[in-house]
Amino acid sequence: MIDKVVAACTRVEGSGNLIIYLKNDEIYQTELNFSVFRGFENILVGKKLLEIPKIVSRICGLCYASQTIASCKAIEDIYGIEPSYKSILLRRLLLSGELIKSHMMHYFFQSFPDLLKIFNINHTINDPYNLINYNPQLTTNVFNLIKIGSEINKLIGGRMLHPITPIPGGLIFNPNRKSLISIEKYLKKGIYYIDTIIENFIDLFSAFDPPTEFNLSNPIFFGLKNNMGFDRYEGDLRIEQNEATYDDFQAKNYSKYFDKNPNLYGITFKSNSKNNILTGPIARYKITQNYGIDKISEYISNFGKKWKSNLLFLNFLQLIESYYEIQKSVEMVNTTSLKSKTKLEHLNSIKKSNGIGVLEAPRGVLMHHYHLNKAKIVDQVKLFIATEINLPILNKMITEYAKKLYEKEDIDSVKEKTQRMIRAFDPCISCASH
């Protein structure tokens, strides 16, 4: 007989359930289950192309800019146009604001209490009041960074959530001197805040070895590779088994490597390897290796090999990525081309029936694929979302972890501790249940 134990998965983005299947009082499977299905791939069928970016933005309240810009890129691919350099810079700034906000919220509210428990530093943080009071300075810095991300998005996107300005062909925003100065001011303050948060992380956790249950067993890394260095906007896709064996391919050839059926759950990778695919900050780090900023290499050198093959390193990489994006944004704000006046690209005629837009969202590779029929109406939409890609490795790791825990502990403790591992993956359930 099979028993099914369901626990609401708390402190993750969206609403999901942890389901544990018990057979003869032994755990045989554990999975993260989404109770909702919103059907965006069906909603978009038949809509006019230029309406799509605004609709897909509503998929998620954290990755709104990534969804909108990936959609704009796919539509630009259909029309065969390239937006101006200025528009690309502004899009990158918008993505940076989103990343800072998303990563800081996950690190502080979702992961930080778990890390304190895992490393036996503090077991008393069980509600937001305790969390805020644990280190008031850290809390202030985190809240300030979230505010910086929101303000950048409001200024460039026209709205804090679901940006208005990114449209196929460019971005409707002509920054004036005043707005550029205010963005720069925010970002320079942000460098100080993120510095203190990274130093706090190193002080608290770098002396410990991470638990072996959280070790990643040779996953295949999947991410965007740009020869110029770490980049989340442009580049080819890469599937990397290890440093020596990898496949680089253009996004338009993706169906040789992976595909999906919009009517079924999940993405199918056509790989012979038994190892699962992982995308997100860890994959970006493994693929890029070097962020090109000396201070980041200095910070990373505080952690040894054990940390670098561990899932909990994702939390540190989120802080590092926030630091990198803030530094790069300061450089971008000071470029002269932002002040130039350029017109939006015209969308004259449809050149192709397939359009693909790919970029790196905060949680990993995000790809939109639209197909037009002969009447030039969207008849098939495929959205490839990072959390969907990570689900098999997540389910495999939590099953192994839960089995190990259940040998010594009761089911309530298994439920609680397994959720820590789910939170460490940073799943975005809103995106995944699109």
Binding site: G39, I43, G46, K47, E51, K54, G158, H162, I167, L347
Partner: protein, 113 residues
């Protein structure tokens, strides 16, 4: 939201208006300071007349028409919308386009969108 719209004073309607598009062309996007004509006058469908006020006209300030994302001004969004659309002469393309009523969802009536 038309009563507080920054373009309100410049709307001079000569019914029936002809509506041809849902989204303006990229060269038609102007900030309200540069362009002082109502979207409906220009033949672009703006859902401002049937939408609740309170968003500070974020889209209109960026040169884009209202999408109705804040919700209906009074009961029955579809009924209100049909009322307002009856004042316009919709282009052939838009007359068959059901997604005007179901922008953020999918029509379950009559098969295809």
């Amino acid at each position: 939201m038309c009563s507080t719209c920054p373009l309100n004073n410049h709307a001079k309607f000569d019914f029936p208006l002809t509506i041809e598009k849902i989204v303006p062309r990229n060269d038609e996007i102007h900030f309200p300071e540069e362009n002082l004509s109502c979207f409906l006058n220009d033949g672009i469908l703006c859902l401002g007349p049937v939408t609740r006020d309170g968003c500070d006209h974020l889209c209109i300030n960026q040169g884009l028409p209202c999408e109705g994302c804040l919700g209906t001004a009074s009961k029955g969004f579809t009924a209100n919308l049909i009322n307002i659309l009856s004042l316009f002469h919709l282009s052939k393309d838009l007359r068959k386009y059901k997604a005007i009523y179901y922008r953020f969802s999918k029509s379950t009536v009559g098969g295809k969108v």
